[in-house]
């Protein structure tokens, strides 16, 4: 049985930039723990002799020549979803 502590849930939430209210912590840790339990069923498979696999297509060496291809979409259209701008830059809450 996986049991994630409230501290662990808080750490994960911080890394994922998810804000949790104090009254949610207990229920979320219950829920995430049970999801983890469900996924952990896969641990029952014996993988001792299986090579770790991250690609299944067998394709290798997909690369392109070093050539500049200017994007046909205008920068302002590319960035139209950004909430705010200043001096051509995207404006965000202060970091650092």
């Amino acid at each position: 049985m996986a049991k994630l502590t409230v501290d662990e849930i808080q750490a994960v939430a911080k890394l994922a930039r998810i804000q949790l209210q104090d009254n949610e912590l207990a229920s979320v840790s219950e829920e995430v723990s049970s999801i983890l339990d469900f996924v952990m069923a896969i641990n029952e498979v014996d993988t001792a002799r299986v090579v770790p696999t991250s690609q299944v297509t067998g394709i290798t060496n997909v690369w392109r020549e070093d050539e500049v291809h200017k994007c046909k979409i205008a920068p302002k259209d590319l960035l139209s979803e950004a909430p705010d701008f200043q001096d051509g830059c995207i404006k965000v809450k202060k970091v650092l």
């Binding site: 750490a11 890394l15 994922a16 930039r17 991250s54 690609q55 297509t57 394709i59 290798t60 060496n61 997909v62 690369w63 392109r64 020549e65 070093d66 050539e67 500049v68 291809h69 200017k70 994007c71 979409i73 920068p75 590319l78 960035l79 200043q86 001096d87 051509g88 830059c89 995207i90 404006k91 965000v92 809450k93 202060k94 970091v95 650092l96």
Partner: protein, 473 residues
């Protein structure tokens, strides 16, 4: 002397000089661009886009492997390093963790007249993040994605570096390697070549706790930050304290390091294999064809110059100019003695530098430089004539052709010279009298007259000895 000994490991980030970015066709040169113009759906991470690796960047890494005396990995692949920060449009960086393209290697550095070897743990390819600007006194930051996706190599040393001096030499030598291979512009002010320094001190065989000094971009600051940090750690330990594993920054104005992030706050990057980019298999043929383009490496030049007993700073002048270093290596292979090779160095760090400032496309070859030096050596031309025609040699003309077409062959024929000298003595009775009366300084005047009369074609040593002989008659 302190009983504490420092141990230093260095991570260097060098921006590659590819035309396009690491995973898309956007222009990689934004030096003069407005913010956010060299961007596309891939490098600003719009949904559904697919990164495709730049073959040029892979080839540069293959070249660099040779410079680092390292093997290129046959199997290499990319991984994702996850973190949230406004400079990372995807929320992760594509980098290499499991199978870096450059494996173990080493870099030789010259410290206190000894060559020592600093191990390279590995080096890998990755993409740079966007640029963040923090306008002072405001509550916001500004993001420019022009740099997002610029190819980088990260070169990770072993913790083999034992002093501040060694660290500085190591940084300079890696800088020489990447710039001479042409894989990095090395414009340090613009952040082309940056480094993180890991340092610990210990008074026993066991390593101490290390701190990491992040994001330095000058050799001088690396030296200052390291000295400060080593002393700080020693003071903490001597005072009975313990070193905390943490990331520290360098404040240039105050000349101190300061705590930025402790180990507890360290990110968990949740690395995993990049699913969007198939792995790469680099054939021997590819590696050897790319590496066969490399002409010389800085270490070869340094070893030659060291044999000539030139100082490190003199060596650095040649090494910092890869093309000049190439001319030197080709000239020295043609010259017979160390004395003549030293003359080649003198030409290259002297007259040649003066001409370089004025000439856009110098075409001096090692062969022509060696020929010029040989012409002086065998007495065909005087060193003054050599200086006069040097600009033409730099412009690509063959020294022997210039000498024969202009009739610059040195006058060494005694009878011809004697006639000229006798006439000069007759024309200048008073100085001749003074010389005979014991004023030897007038000899310089007579030699000068003879050189003038022969348009500099006379051999000055010969003129001088004949002059003395004839004045005394």
């Amino acid at each position: 002397m302190s009983k504490y000994k420092p141990t230093i490991g260095i991570e260097i980030h060098a921006q590659l000089t590819t035309k396009s970015k690491m995973f898309c066709g956007c222009d990689n040169n934004s030096r003069k661009a407005q913010p956010n113009v060299n961007i596309c759906p891939v490098c600003i991470a719009l949904p559904g886009t697919l990164p495709v690796a730049n073959k040029g960047a892979i080839e540069m890494a293959i070249k660099l492997a040779h410079g680092l005396n390292a093997k290129v990995a046959t199997n290499t692949s990319f991984d994702r390093k996850n973190y949230f920060y406004p400079d990372s449009p995807k929320g992760y960086q594509i980098t290499q963790m499991d199978q870096p393209i450059i494996q173990k290697g080493h870099v030789e550095i010259l410290v206190a007249d000894q060559f020592i070897s600093i191990g390279i743990h590995h080096a890998h390819l990755e993409e740079d993040a966007g640029k963040l600007i923090h306008p002072e006194g405001t509550d916001y930051s500004l993001v420019d994605f022009n740099r997002a996706g610029t190819p980088l190599v990260e070169i990770v040393s072993e913790p083999d570096i034992k002093s501040t001096e060694q660290a500085k030499r190591y940084l300079q030598e890696v800088y020489n390697i990447v710039t001479s291979l042409g894989v990095c512009d090395g414009d340090m002010q613009h952040g082309n070549f940056k480094f993180d320094l890991n340092v610990s001190v210990s008074n026993s065989a066991e390593l101490g706790t290390r701190t990491e000094l992040k994001n330095l971009n000058s050799f001088r600051n690396a030296e200052r930050a390291l000295s400060y940090e080593i002393n700080r750690q020693i003071e903490v330990l001597e005072g009975g304290g313990t070193i905390e594993q943490e990331t520290r920054g360098w404040n240039d104005t105050k000349a101190v390091t300061f705590s930025q992030r402790s180990k507890e706050q360290a990110n968990d990057y949740r690395y995993f294999p990049e699913p969007d980019i198939p792995p790469m298999v680099l054939s021997r043929e590819l590696v050897s064809s790319v590496q066969s383009e490399i002409k010389i490496l800085p270490i070869n030049v340094r070893k030659e110059l060291h044999l000539l007993k030139l100082s490190v700073s003199e060596q650095d002048i040649l090494i910092s100019q890869p093309k000049t270093a190439e001319i030197f290596m080709s000239a020295q292979a043609r010259l017979k003695s160390p004395e003549l090779v030293k003359q080649a160095v003198n030409w290259l760090v002297g007259d040649y530098q003066a001409i370089l400032v004025k000439t856009k496309k110098p075409v001096l070859t090692g062969g022509n430089l060696a020929e010029l030096i040989t012409l002086i050596e065998d007495g065909t031309i005087s060193s003054k004539i050599a200086k006069d025609i040097f600009a033409e040699v730099v412009a690509g003309l063959k020294p022997t052709d210039i000498v024969s077409s202009k009739g610059l062959k040195q006058l060494s024929d005694n009878s011809e010279l004697e006639l000229i000298i006798k006439k000069i003595i007759l024309d200048n009775p008073k100085p001749a009298e003074a010389y005979r009366a014991g004023n030897e300084r007038v000899l310089g005047f007579f030699v000068g007259q003879a050189m003038q009369a022969t348009n500099g074609q006379a051999n000055p040593t010969k003129v001088s000895s004949l002059m003395v002989k004839l004045l005394k008659e």
